[in-house]
Amino acid sequence: MTPDQTMPKPTMIEFKEVHKYFGDFHALRGITATIRAGEFFSLLGPSGCGKTTLLRVIAGFEGISKGVVLIDGKDVAEVPANRRPTNMVFQSYAIFPHLSVAENVGFGLRKDRRTAGEKARAVDEALAMVGLVGFGKRAAHALSGGQRQRVALARALILKPKVLLLDEPLSALDKKLRENMQIELIKLQRQVGITFILVTHDQEEALVMSDRIAVMFDGEIAQLDDPETLYRLPKTRAVANFIGTMSFLPAKILSEGGGLLEVECPGFGRLTLDAERQVTGSASPTGATIGFRPETLTLLFDGQQPADRECMATVEEVVYYGDMTYYDVRLDGTNAVARLSMRNVFGRPVLDIGTRTRVAWSPGALVMFR
């Protein structure tokens, strides 16, 4: 079946003004959002931002102080965790150490009416789905971290939940394994079509895996968007800094009208921005700021001509990554350091600190926070 892009997906989870207090601590401050059926949704934020609390609210491990949570159209205020159509993959995986792999995976089938043979077949299928064929008889405590993770996935998915909750499931794995598991999780989600909700503090992980991301700070959703919008047009500087890197320059709005803004900015000079596509946030008393990602600036070597415009800059810091080099440069006429990234090409030198250089830029790649 091919997903129909034109039809909006139905709502799976709806939060209406959800508040949660732990004593005096206001952990969730009026969360209002919807999560659609079948999407890979991420809750992203620094530790203590309330993302795990929100996940545990969905699972039913935490009650809420105020507001409404609907799962599949049903208010779940009175539904305990063991009767919700959700299953969870815990951060510690929570594999039962005294049971075998098959007993772990089949744990949730205890109240199932199927025969033992049918249950065993379901367990085998679930193990096959996560690539653990033939592991059923092993002792759970003898598994590696990656294998535990797979057992936890199989154990949750065997119950065919409407929503699978993942609490930082990859944080305990090393980098290589983590990257492989990210791809596997995406494939698995497409295969089963279940709504996945992932909690993570790793922005890269969220960008790679999610259909949509809710960025949370201090118990509030700062922005809820698809990864590309989130990266290209963050609503606040805090979101911009949390997801990737962004450099900032102060700006002054000269005139506004007809969907365009005339802006003056040291370093870049006078430029025109598209109000809808490039301007974000509500008017702030501290003044407007121009922001740009490292890959939107390019160093110009020797006779190279810019695609759009160019300016002069001084290299202040060089960070060499092998395939990439990051430069901190000071654009002429500014006090702020701007970061730019260059793909390393054979035969092209890595510049030294203090080098004067030409930098190509384009007004279309900038964003402005009002």
């Binding site: 491990f61 063991n82 299953n87």
Partner: protein
């Protein structure tokens, strides 16, 4: 070694601690009623005499009843207290846990007298039951200490996972919590059993006519002709105690390993 003084001190210390206990088996096998060197000859007659002593068998029976009841009750209370203190925060928790652990450091003499006064004032007749009450009071803190370590090494999300997978609170306890803390429960029961068998002061104050092992030994120690019997009995008790405590530590360590936690030293 860099520190011969410390090493000598350690050896002297261990000799001082354990030499008296070594005396027990030596004289238990000595063919003389006098506890004195030189040894006369090897015999196992005292062990036979111990076995033949009907009064002693009665005392042993009473002690076993008391110890078994104490270990079960104290461990049951310990499970409740340990689970509550490791899982929940409630007002006055520190004070409450302190009160539960107090009998560990309180002079037994004071506990025994206080209990006796209260029981007599309430008009409760002294019996094996009152002895059990006293022993439970004494053993509960030990049970709590052992079981707290068992519950602490239990990952909280294991219970949540069982709940998430459709089990209720009781079946979660039965299917997940209990199997994982079972080694701790075994260890607690064994240690409470050992403490109860040894216990003299509380037993002496709270018993009525029937003798317990410890009070029986004390009452017979005054008669020289019983001394070798006591030596033989003492030897048996030392061996059984060591065996029980070893078994208890084995269960405790297995529990920690099974629930995947780090061994934080434990009780022994």
């Amino acid at each position: 070694m860099k520190m011969p003084v410390l090493r000598l001190y350690t050896i002297a210390y261990l000799i001082f601690l354990y030499l008296p206990i070594m005396i027990l088996p030596i004289f238990a096998f000595n063919n003389s009623t006098a506890v004195a060197f030189p040894l006369r000859g090897f015999t196992t007659q005292w062990f036979g005499a111990v076995w033949a002593d009907a009064e002693l068998r009665g005392a042993l029976g009473n002690s076993l009843i008391v110890a078994a009841a104490t270990s079960v009750l104290a461990t049951a209370f310990g499970v409740f207290a340990a689970r509550a203190s490791t899982r929940y925060d409630f007002p006055g928790k520190g004070w409450l846990m302190g009160l539960i652990m107090l009998p560990m450091v309180l002079p037994e003499m004071i506990m025994a007298m206080a209990l006796l006064v209260v029981l007599l004032a309430l008009g409760v007749k002294l019996s094996l039951f009152t002895v059990i009450l006293g022993h439970v009071l004494l053993c509960t803190p030990f049970a709590v200490a052992i079981l707290t370590s068992a519950f602490q090494s239990l990952d909280r999300s294991l219970e949540e996972a069982a709940y998430d997978l459709g089990e209720g609170p009781f079946s979660t306890f039965r299917l997940v919590t209990l199997p994982l803390v079972a080694p701790g429960i075994m260890a607690s029961m064994l240690i409470c059993f050992t403490i109860s068998i040894d216990e003299f002061i509380l037993s002496n104050f709270l018993k009525s006519g029937e003798e317990l092992l410890s009070t029986y030994i004390y009452s017979k120690l005054r008669f020289p002709k019983y001394v070798p019997n006591i030596m033989a009995l003492g030897t048996i008790l030392v061996c059984v105690s060591i065996a029980l405590l070893t078994l208890a530590e084995f269960f405790r360590r297995r529990g920690v390993a099974r629930s995947g936690g780090k061994d934080s030293g434990g009780f022994l």
